[in-house]
């Protein structure tokens, strides 16, 4: 890698502040070189690459579908930019940017069938949009307005999971439930239920969590129809991938006794092909499968993060030509003669969508705290009922005070009441 000019205006991190300099290098003598190739169906210029195993999985893909992928990726990117600026304006409590990971997310989500189920981590905004969840709804959690933003029961998509890796065993259990459905149906002589698989997202950092390891063991023990989709974006906040693993994560699958595939996570065609294949394997009882999508987080970990403190801008520049939007644009131009006017049209319609979405996001307000008492338990609970009474009584005391104020306009006002007003 040739260091390129630092354009950030800030000094480059130097040893020992460069996290990579102090991290494991993967060069330990016991490290076995991975023989797993990285599946790619597009090169960096957007030219097709043939792969005898995976190309057939996207044979049906025409111009329209590729345009839809491009449109989805652009929407995700513009939404991400808007959300980042909304956070800077104090309208969001936090935002984890996805910039750079659009292909890994859009293409993997588009591989899902109607019976499949998704367990996201917390950065899968493009996946959520692909699941048909409105952007305004998706934002409510990051606005600090709701605990989570959509109903799993209506979307076949679990809520975001911020305890790293904690959702992975849930996905395995859900997949075990799919096979349990089949066993119970067979036991009772009923028709087999429709085939289904689970797609679970996590990252290179979360891959170190013990629960992810246990998930792999359980998934293998029970032949669970689950696809582990790890987006390796190279950085777990400030810790580089080399600290998490000496080997590509997909090579770990072999240790659990199932197949792992490395895919160029910035190549939407390859991600779509590999995920379609993996979900089919899982649905047909040949799972689990692990996919490692090698990508790069072009932005910060979250809006609270500052990547200039731990990584070089030349690394970001190295990944710039692999930008999934750029490559897909190149593909559309090269293969279908798509013209600037078409791209401008997509940009314009996305801008309109962003404008309307922004208004929708800002229109909402937070849930009443009192409603939170309703959801702690699924059934009546005397402790919650009692403490809800305390809350109500305290809040109501300000209403009485307010009534007193009406009689005596110069009287003191309760702080809580002012906050409510």
């Amino acid at each position: 890698m040739t260091p390129t000019e630092n354009t950030s205006g800030k000094p480059e991190p130097t040893d020992p502040h460069d996290a990579r300099a102090t991290a494991g290098t993967g060069a330990h003598p016991a490290t076995v070189e991975s023989t797993l190739p990285v599946v790619g169906l597009l090169d960096e210029t957007g030219a097709r690459v043939q792969d005898s195993r995976f190309s057939p999985w996207i044979e049906d893909l025409g111009r329209q579908e590729i345009e839809e992928i491009y449109r989805s990726m652009l929407r995700a990117r513009r939404l991400d930019e808007m959300a980042t600026s909304l956070q800077r304006q104090g309208q969001m409590v936090l935002w984890p940017p996805l910039r750079g990971q659009e292909a890994a997310q859009v293409a993997s989500a588009r591989a899902l069938g109607t019976e499949d189920y998704v367990f996201p981590s917390y950065r899968e905004h493009a996946v959520i949009l692909e699941r048909g969840i409105p952007a305004e709804e998706m934002m409510t959690q990051f606005r600090g307005h709701t605990a989570s933003s959509w109903k799993p029961s209506e979307t076949r998509t679990q809520i975001y999971s911020l305890v790293l890796g904690a959702q992975v065993p849930h996905a395995v259990g859900y997949a075990m439930g799919i096979t349990q459905d089949q066993k119970l149906a067979a036991e009772e002589g009923q028709n087999p239920p429709p085939e289904a698989a689970v797609l679970v997202y996590y990252g290179d950092g979360a891959s170190t969590e013990g629960e992810v390891h246990e998930s792999m063991v359980f998934a293998a023990s029970y032949d669970a129809p689950v696809v582990f989709f790890v987006q390796n974006n190279q950085w777990a906040i400030s810790v580089p991938f080399s600290t998490q693993s000496r080997v590509p994560l997909a090579t770990r699958a072999a240790g659990y006794g199932f197949e792992g595939v490395r895919v160029d996570g910035n190549d939407p065609l390859a991600v779509l092909a590999v995920t379609r294949w993996a979900l089919a394997e899982a649905r047909q009882g040949r799972g689990p499968v692990m996919i490692e999508a090698e990508t790069f987080r072009l932005g910060a970990h979250t809006t609270a993060d500052d990547p200039t403190k731990y990584r070089r801008t030349d690394e970001e520049q190295l990944w710039a030509p692999r930008d999934p939007l750029l490559r897909t644009r190149n593909l559309l131009e090269r293969e279908y003669g798509a013209e600037d006017v078409w791209f401008q049209g997509v940009e314009d319609e996305t801008s309109e969508w962003i404008k309307a979405t922004r208004a929708g996001i800002l229109a909402g307000g937070p849930v009443d705290l009192e409603q939170r008492f309703d959801v702690v338990y699924a059934t009546d609970h005397p402790l919650v009922a009692e403490e809800r009474g305390w809350y109500r009584e305290y809040q109501d005391s300000f209403v009485e005070e307010d009534n007193d104020d009406a009689a005596d306009a110069s009287g003191p006002r309760g702080l809580g009441r002012e906050e409510q007003a």
Partner: protein, 332 residues
Amino acid sequence: MSDTKESTLRTTMAKALTLGMRRAMSEDRSVLLMGEDIGSLGGVYRVTEGLKADFGAHRVRDTPLGEAGIVGTAIGMAMRGYRPVCEIQFDGFTFPAFNQITTQLAKMHARTNGDVAVPVTIRIPNGGVIGSVEHHSESPEALFAHTAGLRIVTPSTPQDAYWMIQQSIACPDPVIFLEPKRRYWLKGEVNLLQPNTPDPFSAQVVREGEQLTLVAWGPLVPVAMAAAEAASQDGRSVEVVDLRSLSPVDFDTLEASVNHTGRMVIAHEAPVFGGLGGEIASRITDRCFYSLEAPVQRVGGYHLPYPPAGVEEEYVPDLDRILDAIDRAFAY
């Protein structure tokens, strides 16, 4: 069952639990068991003995050895519509699953704004005085009681064991089901037709008295009953309440009892500091301040890791230490 001869059964707490789970599994095919060694072996305490043979390996699942995996996959199965019953082998081995229990299982209903219920029951052989090695004798109930979203129950008799395990499995909320392991072989009558209370999340007065309310649960209920009997020989009339539900706590029953007796002693095996007894003492003091003749007294484990088996009987409250606490309450 109409034949009254078959309406009661004398059996051990362990067997009552087995029977209760067998019935729950027969009545609801979404119920399944998960845990280490629970299949062919029947669990290290044999509580699931025979169930794999009757219901199959897909409903009595010997899991790989990973507590977080057991609870984490159980949550996923519950999301799919199942009612998993997890067995954690010993109380001290709950902690590898603690993240899944407290950040996931407990909070899932609230985190999904009420959209996803996770009716998972986690059975944990609980408490000490079994003469074992470290991590096999702990009483972690306060850690779970502090976590909103969980329910915690613990039976002290075969009758409650038989019914409360079924009621826990049927509950739409996650339930931590603490089994007093030193009482697994305690025998008693089980009424197969009717539970003691339709609501398992309630306390029961198991001995009536006039001068002091003694609260205990799980393994200490028999000790509390013996202490009340011993106190009566000293002319003290002690009412014993089996708390049964540790979250929620049935404060109404406790309040009514203390308003009647004027004194309260709480006994538990867990360390006193930060223990459930402190919360009960505080709330009962609030509710019964003008009825109390003395501060609420607590007796429990010391602020130590559970000690070696050779000295555990000095650590866990026994009859004499409970009587000592009763003396303290009467000293005011």
